[in-house]
Symmetry: C2
Subunit: 245 residues, 2 copies
């Protein structure tokens, strides 16, 4: 196992940070590493908005499920899927951009996520900890307004970065054999793999919580998915010019 | 600059591979590194389908814009956004899963992309080269049928992995200052940054092609976006149970 593989496997979401600043040069290096990731047909359909500590950050933290640790992160970035830059490129050449395709939303979301994961790896390689904040989608309209996002730009998630003041346990992931399939999707062992994983996750939570939270993975998932999943997102994305066709 | 940052910056898409096999243990390590990435509320909404060299791979390569180098890659993986496993989890607990939300498609696409980029980094850390294949979305219905994908599973992209037999040039990315914004989206320098980058990309292509391809970045983008972008994707995703609400 080489050092990079060790680093990838040491990832945990960090939600408590030391009061040590992160230099702007480091932030730029991290973003530049993000940009080194592959990009679909070179479209680079992303932007990253850095929000300093202060009233705007506090408002964002409040909108993101009131996760106050967001205020403590020396660096907070909002990663966006961005096709606005492409509109500008089309206008430069008097071309009517055909937009609104599900394909474009998919490509931009993938591009931005590859960028973000490279950013996460780069940050962790220099001893920083990170936490993705999907909850910026809780009140996505308000977040978009706060960051003054134009059409064809949507927040995907936030990213907290700072020196970790905590080292959470590693949660056991699905077995590789459940995720990696051969030739076709179907797998006769799928149910057994799920049951085994449920047992593993129950034991993990039992050990960690002293018996308080003993939900298996599938129980957690079922509890989550019997509820609506941010039902406002479709409308927001359409308003921004995505997912129209 | 540490070794990880050097590695991230050395990424190029590799489309020619040595005839050296990659062991299945290595493939499993790569997928396991993918799974070490962050996952939204622990949903792990992805599957990876490995397709061996042979008739099925050849059919996939033909469907993916006839990119024959796909046949030469020792390893070919199709990365999928997958909520089918979650349906199974809900059924285990007699819960009616509420699905079809744009939010769920977004989450699964992000999850799978974070996994994929960790896989790419892990592969490159052991001397392998990779290439993302977005063209599996060209004939996404046929690809889905070939891999026997059920509802709530969609291919996102392929990933070729093997020992590189080539070292392509690094294409200049957008300047960090164009991607990283402060506090709000708007940036008075945006047009100037685009113009400078266009000049840089024109010079890059001119140098590399001996003067044949001198399109700037914005010209490439405008040429691409005056055409439709895989207009069949929306219908496919809806058929699979995504993007319904």
């Amino acid at each position: 196992m080489n050092d990079v593989i060790k680093l990838l496997n040491a990832h945990r979401s960090v939600r408590a940070f030391k009061k040590i600043p992160v230099s702007q040069a480091t932030v730029e290096t991290i973003v530049q590493c993000g940009q080194a990731a592959a990009t679909s047909s070179f479209i680079q359909a992303y932007s990253v908005i850095q929000v300093a500590q202060g009233p705007k950050r506090e408002r964002l933290a409040a909108l993101a499920n009131e996760q106050t640790f967001i205020n403590d992160a020396p660096v907070f970035l909002v990663v966006c899927a961005d096709m606005q830059r492409h509109k500008m490129a089309c206008e430069k050449h008097n071309v009517d951009m055909l937009s609104g395709y599900a394909e474009q939303f998919m490509t931009a979301t993938i591009d931005a996520s590859l960028l973000a994961q490279n950013m996460a790896v780069a940050a962790e390689s220099i001893g920083l900890g990170i936490c993705y904040i999907g909850a910026v989608r809780n009140e996505i309209d308000a977040v978009s307004e706060l960051l003054e996002l134009p059409d064809l730009v949507t927040p995907l998630f936030g990213l907290c970065i700072g020196y970790p003041n905590t080292k959470p346990d590693l949660k056991p992931r699905l077995p590789v054999s459940a995720v990696l399939k051969q030739e076709v999707y179907a797998d006769p062992d799928a149910q057994q793999l799920l049951d085994d994983y449920d047992e593993q996750t129950s034991i993990y939570y039992q050990t960690r919580s002293g018996g308080q939270k003993v939900q298996s993975w599938s129980e957690q998932i079922a509890a989550k998915l019997k509820q609506e999943s941010r039902p406002h997102i479709m409308n927001f994305l359409k308003k921004k010019g995505f997912l129209l066709k």
